[in-house]
Symmetry: C2
Subunit: 340 residues, 2 copies
């Protein structure tokens, strides 16, 4: 029978003006306390819930942040979403996840002011023109896993160079001297950075850098399996002390190949990956790997975005270090000759 209860209904019922109701509800401190509590009581009694569209239209604020991503599949995303939404809660914002591949959808939601600020996962195809449009509208954004050209926006990314560097340093610390790298997909930023870090560490410790020690594994188990097998067949005498694989899947493929040739990991050869995927700890041997601090990325992202919104701060680029997780696939260099 009775339709939606509006602020007008509350005003009439409480015998005051709608501005008074608004002030009471929004805790604006200009009202007589008695009036305020009376209004609140009436609102409660009528089960009044403000219409957010009206509210947001006028105020220009939604107190919502939007996370735009092409996918939400896999542990990376749910860990990220989990930590971001928790942090939003703390700061009084809501987090809204939009799963879409359509850039049009993204831009119309952003410029259409459905949210106060946005987190954008790479690969949505947001370009300079889009960023310019956002800037013009004074919309704040933080990008994940993307190097930003525009100073105006924020970005919180993992430092893959540092990760590659540290991982290699760790292997060197175990006494390994001949370290091979199994590359991922060469068009991907992460892949290239990890390799550069690997090379930098080798140079730093004056270890030989050889093209032969860079294999192509394409971030996949099978490709890596084949690549390692061909390597072993081609250079049986040049077997490295350790393999640093572009990611954990690749590390698994590498270990499978070594096993199939009768080598033991980690006794004969150490193998290390990146990402710390779920399987890493269950695999045999459990993988030594570099873990990204996803929860931390989520928290920093929200903090940064909220500062940009509330304190009108400029966006900047922050890099996160990886964390080396030592498990069973790596071992201090063990020289068979010493044994004999």
């Amino acid at each position: 029978m009775m339709g939606k209860i509006t602020i007008r209904d509350v005003a009439r019922e409480a015998g005051v003006s709608i501005s008074t109701v608004s002030n009471a509800l929004n805790d604006v401190d200009v009202l007589n306390p008695a009036t305020k509590s009376h209004v609140l009581k009436v609102a409660q009694r009528l089960n009044y819930v403000p219409n957010l569209n009206g509210k947001q239209l006028k105020s220009g604020k939604t107190m919502m942040l939007g996370f735009f991503t092409t996918s939400v599949t896999g542990p990376y995303f749910y860990k990220l979403v989990e930590s971001m939404s928790r942090q939003c809660d703390r700061l009084g914002y809501g987090l809204n996840v939009f799963v879409t591949k359509d850039k049009q959808v993204v831009m119309s939601n952003i410029l259409g002011r459905r949210v106060d600020g946005v987190i954008i996962y790479e690969e949505l195809g947001i370009n300079d023109k889009d960023i310019h449009a956002m800037n013009k509208e004074n919309i704040k954004a933080v990008f994940l896993d993307r190097v930003l050209q525009k100073e105006s926006m924020g970005s919180i990314i993992f430092d893959s160079f540092e990760a590659g560097y540290e991982a290699t340093k760790y292997l060197i610390g175990l006494g390994h001297k001949k370290i091979a790298y199994i590359s991922g997909v060469d068009t991907m930023f992460d892949s290239v950075q990890r390799r550069e870090g690997y090379l930098a560490a080798l140079r730093q410790y004056s270890l030989p850098v050889s093209e032969d020690y860079i294999l192509q594994g394409y971030f996949e188990e099978e490709s890596t399996f084949n690549a390692v097998k061909s390597f072993i067949r081609a250079f049986p005498e040049k077997l490295p002390d350790a393999f640093l694989a572009g990611n954990d899947l690749s590390a698994i493929g590498c270990i499978q190949a070594l096993k199939s040739h009768g080598y033991e990991v980690p006794l004969d050869i150490s193998v290390m990956g990146f990402d710390d995927i779920d399987i890493a700890q269950y695999y045999s041997p459990p993988l030594t790997t570099v873990r990204n601090q996803i929860a931390r990325q989520g928290i920093l992202t929200i903090d940064h975005l909220v500062r940009m919104i509330q304190k009108k701060e400029q966006g900047n680029a922050q890099k996160l270090k990886g964390e080396i997780i030592v498990r069973g696939s790596s071992h201090v260099k063990f020289d068979r000759n010493d044994q004999m």
Copy 2:
């Protein structure tokens, strides 16, 4: 310098009224085609993007569905979100994921009309009064994993009773007689239903039902690991033929515990889980489990909700059957005594 471009700016620039602009943009077929294309061209040139709050305030529609959940962690959720958002796309809706534990947030977003319809994951504490409020506002909702009291709302749930029943029947079919159940979280509907199904199957086949054979694993690997270990220590002579774990994580914890005591799975004891999580097939041994058709649940959910919204259909309750996936963690009963 120049602020947000509104429909008014487009109207002025194109030399028409704002209603004409609105009609052109919304493809209302009353305009002279020349006028329409002219207006569209101007809108394009000005990079006009409609303000969604204004739009939604007036029209009363958002073309958005909201998924409200306490958590988004784990494969169940990302598979569900993935399939729901894909189906939303197809039907011209956007899907919005709200991760929150605060019922107040949920209700204010729902009654505040931020979305046209909602999908609610259980455990948010939505009660009859809330549902009544939604009904009064004519808001459509579909509940997941929850038995509904109110006829007016929809629900698409997995038949966990059936799943528990069928899984147990499968184990019985392998020749197992002493079957233990590792319970999940007792406040969760699924957990309780699976256990009831388990009990029903035991009764059906006149097998003994014992309280000792119901362990508490809380749907977690570690809790289950500890629970199973304590069981083994407490009743070494009463070891069951098979464990039916409340979910796959629990099954893994169970197997770890059995392994640590020197038992072999499945030769000594069969273990079975629920959910078919990603690790299930990689685990050693690969898990026998009951798979829910998550993608199907997502599609049915969206379809149902959209029908309720667009065709003003009544909500109803649908149940989905699980599918038993036989892998390496279960085996026909093998009696060591026969061997000796």
